[in-house]
């Protein structure tokens, strides 16, 4: 039976540009969340964000293939992670432009990161701004397709905070169904007044550092970034190859912007991913939790763990390092899961002095043992719950 394996990946987040920089900060236990330098908003003065620590101009300087034609921060971040992904997978230009290669991306805010320009453009208060072509949710993916001549397949998914997890799932299915030989999957979001004010109106932002799975957690920190994985299929995988082993997409069917106490969606997503991977729950070595730091999410997710697992495996939320990167979160955390598998380690949970006591399980810091199977959760508005399982060939 063929398996879909990860041929390469690329990442940009508050922990920096590239997998190496991200891993370095995770190992050190240093969060990328701080008061933002480049993001302009009333909330920039007092709130904490997982901002990518570079200006647009500096980010462009890190690109190998020149700036995108339409140069929003979203499009720059997407291209940065995309470039690293295809380079680490060693994809040739002919492979990229083959009709058997595709891209599935995702974003929630897209070009709306330039909230003030969109306001002026939509209301015709100015001549069209330079961002006029970027507001479409799919623009970042079209820019990538144009730049790298991807003609085989393109899709863009928006299921809010689970978007790029669904991109990974759909890409895996396209390969398994033999529609494509190679697919680049992931997502991107950049900080935007739009989302900051949206989440603030829902009162789920913590102005200070977010505290996932802590008793005193008050809300999430928004972050930005991008992550892309290059997926391919093979019948024979070498030792230590990382592969997509399980996936599921289910709906909580409870509330547009909150999860149910019974955790229907999260439980179903995790259970079905385990079935797909043909694993029993206790084979999961580590869970990269959705763990946003909101009172609602973390309670629900922990309850879901207690229902799915007899003894809850070690888990943590890396959102205490990156903030919640929305559509990019599924891909960024998939990459952290892959790094955990590759390096046999997990990283210190930050801002977590008093873990939620109601459940017996504790977050386990700095797990160092052979890791074979990692679960990565992504839950979003609209009740969208997705769970992925990545594994390593032994």
């Amino acid at each position: 039976m063929s398996q879909v394996y990860v041929a390469g990946f690329g990442i940009v987040s508050a922990l920096g540009i590239g997998a190496e920089s991200n891993l370095k900060h995770l190992k050190k236990g240093v969060s990328g969340i701080r008061k933002p330098k480049y993001f302009h908003s009333k909330y920039a003065e007092n709130y904490h964000f997982g901002e990518v620590p570079f200006s647009d101009e500096d980010l462009i300087r890190h690109l190998s293939f020149g700036p995108p034609e339409n140069c929003s921060r979203t499009n720059i971040l997407a291209q940065l992670a995309f470039e690293e992904a295809i380079q680490s997978a060693g994809l040739s230009t002919s492979e990229l432009s083959s009709f058997r290669t595709g891209i599935i991306s995702s974003s929630t805010v897209g070009g709306m990161c330039n909230t003030d320009d969109l306001y002026a453009d939509a209301n015709e208060f100015q001549d069209p701004s330079q961002f006029i072509h970027t507001y479409d949710n799919a623009n970042h993916a079209l820019e990538l397709a144009k730049k790298f001549k991807i003609k085989g397949f393109m899709d863009v998914i928006n299921t809010a905070c689970s978007s790029s997890a669904n991109a990974i799932m759909l890409g895996t299915q396209l390969l398994l169904s033999n529609q494509l030989d190679c697919v680049i999957v992931g997502g991107v979001d950049s900080l935007a007044k739009y989302t900051v004010n949206g989440f603030n109106s829902l009162r789920i932002l913590d102005p200070a550092w977010c505290k996932p799975f802590d008793e005193s957690r008050e809300g999430l920190n928004l972050g930005e970034g991008a992550g892309y994985l290059v997926l391919k299929k093979s019948a024979i995988l070498e030792k230590n190859t990382l592969y997509v082993n399980g996936y599921a997409n289910q709906n909580d069917a409870f509330h547009p912007s909150a999860t149910s106490e019974e955790a229907h969606g999260p439980i179903l997503a995790m259970q079905k991913a385990l079935v797909k991977a043909e694993l029993v729950p206790n084979q999961i070595d580590y869970i990269n939790a959705h763990g946003t730091g909101t009172p609602n999410n973390d309670r629900t997710e922990l309850f879901a763990f207690s229902q799915v697992f007899d003894g809850i495996p070690p888990y943590s939320s890396t959102k205490s390092y990156t903030g919640h990167t929305l559509a990019a979160a599924g891909a960024i955390e998939a990459i952290y899961s892959l790094l955990a598998l590759r390096h046999n380690e997990t990283w210190k949970a930050l801002n977590n002095p008093t873990p939620i006591e109601h459940f017996k399980a504790q977050e386990k810091d700095n797990l160092q043992k052979e890791i074979h199977h990692v679960m990565s959760n992504s839950f979003g508005f609209g009740g969208n719950c997705s769970s992925l399982i990545f594994s390593k060939v032994v």
Binding site: Y119, D121, A122, N123, P128, L142, N158, S177, K193, A253
Partner: protein, 333 residues
Amino acid sequence: MYIQEANHIGIHVPDSDDLGNIFLENKCFLVQEPDYTGIIPSNILRRMGKAVRLGMGVALPIIQKYPVDAIIMGTANGGLEDCIKFLNQIVEFEEGVLTPTNFVQSTPNALAGQLAILTQNHCYNNTHTNNALSFENALIDLKLQFEDHENIQNAIVGAVDEISTYNFTIDCLTGIFIKKDQVAKNWVLENYKGAIAGEGATMFYLTKHSNNTSTIKIKAISVGLLLDEHEISENVKELLLKHQLSVNDIQFISTGRNGDERYQSIYDQVEALFPNAALNHFKSKCAEYKTATGFAVYEAFQTLQKQTKTSHYLIFNTLNQRQSLILIEKESN
């Protein structure tokens, strides 16, 4: 996969030679919304933006009638009216205290999420936002779920996009749409410098296997990106070849002509491949929006229901550097 039922809320095109009056005010075609009483619960109807309302209006009559194993939506924009309303508040109230209703309604997955909530449906749930391929991607998604999951046997798949003042403005500035004071009745054949805008919502109930009620099958969906005119014609021929069909096996050809001069030669070329097929220009009845192929499939379903012999219906559309072909087959009764 087989189409069991289809629902559509669309624009109103008056049956006269002069469409001037409609255009003088709106410069685009707007949907005629039905009375939602009895379809959408009034307490939630109040909070809904147009796109969610339209989607609910076509989906609920179906979803309440049948078992649904997957909910998959295609929408280029989602609730853009709500989105810009929220945006206007952000700027005008200088990021003050805002109410979240518009924000929550503006997310493109709000419709698929609301459908799940209203029907307590925990099944597979996805939303595609790939501009002019959003609906096609939703169909491809379902095809993959049918292949991959034994327990997914049926689904609701939708194509929904609204026109709001704001996205109309932006898409006019980017050159997708054009504002005309009046249009001729056969405006899809005109050589305007942009398309005439519309909006609509279409919803399908699809099953993996045929049953006694429908033998109308979505046989193939082919999507293209950044293709030149030559490659597009080649794609059409390849699709037919793959399904062992000749051009004469296609009884109906429906294309997305939209009055925009930039696309006319592509449509000329594709239409010329099928000299013996009945030609339809679906956008003359739904105008241009990014998920308009949903309406084209709806029309195909209506047309094929009337056929008794095996028939093939091919839809070709192109917009914003994307192309799609949808092949629908009626198996003989």
